[in-house]
Symmetry: C2
Subunit: 255 residues, 2 copies
Amino acid sequence: MAPDQDSAAGSLYRKVAADLREAITSGSFGDAGRLPAEGALAEQYGVSRGTVRQALALLRADGLVTSRRGTRRVVLGSARVQSFSELLSFTHWARSMGEEPGGRLESMVRRPADAAEREHLRLEPGTEVYAMLRLRTLSGTPVMVERTVYPPRVGELVAQLPPDAVSHTEPLREHGILFSDADHTIDVVGANADDARLLGCRRGSPLLREKRRTTDPTGTPVEWSQDRYLPGTVAFSIHNSLASSALSRHAREND
Amino acid sequence: MAPDQDSAAGSLYRKVAADLREAITSGSFGDAGRLPAEGALAEQYGVSRGTVRQALALLRADGLVTSRRGTRRVVLGSARVQSFSELLSFTHWARSMGEEPGGRLESMVRRPADAAEREHLRLEPGTEVYAMLRLRTLSGTPVMVERTVYPPRVGELVAQLPPDAVSHTEPLREHGILFSDADHTIDVVGANADDARLLGCRRGSPLLREKRRTTDPTGTPVEWSQDRYLPGTVAFSIHNSLASSALSRHAREND
DNA sequence: CGACGGAAGTTGGCTGGCCAACTTGGCCGC
DNA sequence: GCGGCCAAGTTGGCCAGCCAACTTCCGTCG
């Protein structure tokens, strides 16, 4: 597989960003070293300074470099996984770690949406949804219980997939369902009877919960999911900075 | 207090962004409505299209609007708290929710840094650090145990603060210690004896843990902290998109 | 020897312009 | 009536240039 599928695709500034990312990760500028000036990079890559700045904005958002007026940029950390697709797709994430992802479909039913689901998926009263319950494994060991609710248009496609399909997002993409934006909420919850049975833990034992709503490029919700992870298997990591940030901490709301 | 302290400060594109954010939140464009074209906004605000694009990039990163070539931007959600300072400062966050933040200093000691601390704070072997243990409350009720390790330069200042000081980040800012970038890792951990005693829960009961390393604009670490929250008091929420993102999920590493 | 000041270097911000890629809607032909 | 084609509208991307704000460093002066 091409490793640059996402990173160096298409635009010039992405190519420059991918190249700089590589250079930083391989330590070309030292650990806390300074990057060349924007002008120098522009000349080096044969692009305008604006393009270099677009590339550097990507690296800054990923927390690879600092940026402040008056000084060269400084290398902050190195190597961050490409995040969006890995956050959306358990399969993609697992493979990027060299693990073998698996999934066992527990149930898939079509039923009327409740109030909360209508709210999250922005559906009219009376609309039906497809509710899925799935156990996800990493190289054979159970790590997560996934409860996903799909609107009709998406659910119909998912329901037709073979029950042992590992990835759902990949086939969906081929049917024109695009995942573009997602909101995630992370907290702790106790295992209920189903969780305990599937994950092999005790009822009430703590699980890391991720609630997620995904929309397509037009803003239409395509997925509303609740994933519950066994502690010790995963953690979530975020970088934020004064310049840009995509994270917020907030009081718990009602489910 | 000026509510636009961060949002509309200084640059033109931030003012435009703040204005658009306000318009979106107040529903001027409808719930899933479409924004005016970039050109129209540029004319309306009397700025160039590039400046409008900078403003819209902020909104896109916050998940307020989509953006895709060929169509007008679409309103996604509305109203997201300003995230960076609220994520760094418990005090700031609490106040933005209308709660009264409190803190009780349990201990503050100066001691040699262990290997992990030297790694996180990028210190030379033999350097001493200031280790703090603090119970944080929201309107009187305990919600979080904070364990923070400071490098000497910062710790000396913190140690001089009165023990009942609610906010530490604000006085630090006045002494020239600037918080600029932070890496966060979120997972679940069981309460140890200290946690249980301070938070009033049982030993081993699940806590939401946030590990955080903060650096100043030069990339020098200024803080390494482990916060443990009682479940049900907080959750972390993140937005990410294909266009830009600051989040990644990864396998748990050793502490 | 230390403090102050200024010059050079660097990033932030903004403008104006151009073309390409893509979406949408309407028109036209079948 | 239906489907396909085309044009207008819109965002993505790139360039060249200019000035302001800020940092750093060095030389000078006390």
